[in-house]
């Protein structure tokens, strides 16, 4: 028994050594040589990247996804490896991916994947230009630059179409918020520079909270002071359940000095794609535009 254990430990040690040696010789980066001899096996760890890959026609080369990559529906059939916080590394290794995409902020995950011989590319999609860059990078990494260019052009034309629809309309001040979290006085809103901020601009509105960048959490008094004309609350997942939506609506009705509340223009939106910086941002902008400008719906056939 004891000897067995020692042999086991020796084997584990050798395996680790092998791994370490593997690390010391990093795989040569092949920025433009994606479509080479080795077939691509892509691991997508971010919902927007999964959508982008499928939109570029690379769906059949995706071998694994994160827990949160539910769109498009074909993606749901793919094996799940967890998310960047809790990843099942054995599952990752079993899928033999050659290329992994994730978002920044989890350096150790990227290092861990690289150490296992998976080329790992970290992408940023916090802003609209970053999202377009991400699509181009995915194109380069997969050798499908033409498809990337086509997707960028398609999204840009979608956005331009929404811009045309709202041209000439008054631009109300819109607050894009997430539901209040349990026991918290603060709500998260879309700040300056986020891609939602850009979509509001496309949809013919002004962001009512341009004071801070990214996704600040603000107190009720800040919202009162911002005095938005329209409030869009993005309730996804569990928050989108009917009783939660009702609770969110009730929570807002109290703050009667806010023009949006007084004018009955607090809208609770439950479509997940509204905050996914992917191929459907044009659709998101259109949904925002039609909510912000109800006259558009009457005009459209």
């Amino acid at each position: 028994m004891k000897a067995d254990r020692h042999i086991g430990m020796l084997a584990a040690g050798l395996a680790l050594l092998g791994l370490a040696l593997g690390c010391s010789e990093p795989e040569p980066a092949s920025p433009a040589g994606g479509g080479g001899e080795r077939p691509l096996r892509i691991l997508s760890l971010t919902p927007n990247v999964t959508e982008i890959l499928f939109a570029m026609g690379l769906g059949d080369q995706v071998v694994g996804r994160s827990t949160w990559c539910n769109e498009p529906s074909e993606a749901r059939a793919l094996p799940v490896v967890g998310d960047t916080l809790h990843m099942n590394l054995n599952q990752v290794i079993a899928l033999k991916p050659t290329l992994a995409f994730l978002i920044t902020g989890r350096e150790e995950v990227a290092r861990g994947l690289e150490a296992r011989g998976v080329r790992t590319v970290t992408l940023r999609s916090d802003t609209l230009p970053q999202m377009f860059d991400s699509i181009r990078v995915i194109g380069r990494e997969t050798g499908r630059e033409d498809a990337a260019r086509a997707l960028v052009a398609r999204i840009e034309s979608d956005l331009a179409a929404v811009r045309r629809r709202v041209a000439g309309l008054a631009r109300p001040r819109v607050l894009f918020a997430f539901p209040m979290t349990v026991g918290s006085a603060r709500i998260m809103v879309a700040g300056r520079g986020t891609f939602v901020d850009a979509l509001l601009e496309v949809a013919g509105a002004e962001n009512a909270y341009p004071d801070r960048a990214n996704w600040p959490t603000v107190s009720p008094q800040k919202v009162i002071a911002a005095a938005p004309d329209v409030i869009l609350v993005h309730a996804v997942g569990d928050e989108g359940a009917p009783d939660r939506v009702e609770a969110i609506r009730r929570a807002w009705t109290g703050w009667t000095s806010i023009p949006a509340v007084a004018g009955g223009r607090v809208h609770i939106l439950t479509e997940p794609y509204l905050t996914i910086p992917g191929p459907r941002v044009g659709l998101a902008a259109e949904r925002l535009a039609e909510t912000i400008h109800p006259e558009l719906q009457e005009r459209s056939p």
């Binding site: 979290t181 918290s184 009720p220 009162i224 005095a227 000095s257």
Partner: protein, 333 residues
């Protein structure tokens, strides 16, 4: 310990003085918290005042409730370190509230908070009781152990839920007073319970004084020690559970406030009960105001939750108690 006889006048002065202090602080917190000078329109000022009033009301009822519970635990267990937080009662209530929040609606959470608190008190009591006597060391240790156990179960829960819910639970555990979706009904429930507890403890105060001398002495003087104990434990658990359901666990209020007051008004529980109720309220209103004023100071970071602030003040105070007052008490026993 000798207590002076308490005249009705002296009692009334105590109650009114602490009530007046709370009123002054609450009014100031309302004005400063709402930043009444920044608003341009009447409706905006109304909304800001409503936000500030909710904070003052919540801080008052929760602070009063926790201070009363702390005073009662300290009196009954004859232990200066007893408080809802340290005995694990807040932890038990938190676990009850967290588990119930995953499955049932907000309105019944106080009931689960109360159950968690009561189970904790019962367990601590059962562990620490030997031959009808409560052993102070065992008592505190069982509180510490229960706290660790609850922390583990809460962490397990957090590991199993979705990341968004995980963040909510973590934030809730820090203890928060303000809310976006105002829960006036729940504030009302806690207010009624806290006032009720103050009344019950006011009637039991004489018994607390005699128990402080010694349980056997109290027994021979006609105090039904067991009954006082049971009523106190149930009432203190009830208010702690409800307070935790409203704001999450806010530590050290139940520890600090009774001690500060013993230094000011002396050991007589007849005066300590109303003083703890009003000064607990005052203390938490001040702490909440401080977090509100930090909002601008530490931008762009959100201000610390009030529970974080009280724990940061409470830690050093706890050390002070360990080094001075507790040592003396322990030597006596």
């Amino acid at each position: 310990m000798t207590l002076q006889p308490l005249s009705a006048r002296r009692y009334a002065v105590t109650v009114l003085a602490w009530l007046a202090l709370w009123l002054v602080v609450a009014a100031a917190a309302l004005v400063l918290g709402a930043r009444v000078w920044v608003w341009e329109s009447g409706p905006q000022l109304n909304d800001a005042l409503r936000d500030a009033l909710y904070g003052v009301a919540t801080a008052s009822v929760v602070g009063g409730a926790l201070a009363l519970a702390g005073l009662a635990f300290q009196a009954l267990l004859r232990n200066p370190l007893a408080s809802p937080y340290i005995l694990g009662v807040s932890g038990g209530a938190s676990l009850g509230v967290i588990l119930s929040s995953l499955f049932v609606s907000v309105l019944v959470q106080p009931i689960f908070g109360f159950l968690g608190a009561l189970v904790t008190v019962g367990t601590v009591y059962a562990i620490a009781q030997r031959r009808g006597r409560l052993e102070p060391y065992t008592l505190l240790l069982s509180g510490v152990i229960l706290n660790a156990f609850y922390a583990a179960v809460i962490m397990l829960t957090m590991g199993l839920v979705r990341p968004e819910t995980r963040g909510d639970i973590a934030y809730w555990m820090m203890g928060n007073i303000g809310r976006f979706d105002l829960q006036w009904g729940l504030v009302g429930v806690v207010a009624v319970l806290a006032v009720g507890a103050a009344v019950v403890f006011a009637f039991l105060a004489k018994g607390f004084n005699l128990i402080a001398v010694g349980e056997e002495t109290a027994g021979t003087l006609g105090v039904r020690v067991e009954r006082v104990r049971h009523v106190t434990f149930v009432v203190a658990s009830l208010v702690t559970g409800a307070a935790v359901a409203l704001t999450g666990p806010i530590g050290f209020v139940g520890l600090i406030v009774p001690h500060l007051l013993r230094m000011v008004v002396g050991p007589d529980h007849r005066r300590l009960v109303p003083a703890s109720f009003f000064f607990g309220a005052t203390f938490l209103v001040l702490a909440n105001l401080a977090t509100g004023l930090l909002e601008g100071a530490v931008a762009p970071f959100p201000p610390p939750p009030v529970g974080v602030l009280t724990a940061m003040c409470g830690g050093p105070f706890f050390v002070y108690l360990l080094r001075t007052r507790w040592r003396r008490t322990a030597e006596v026993q």
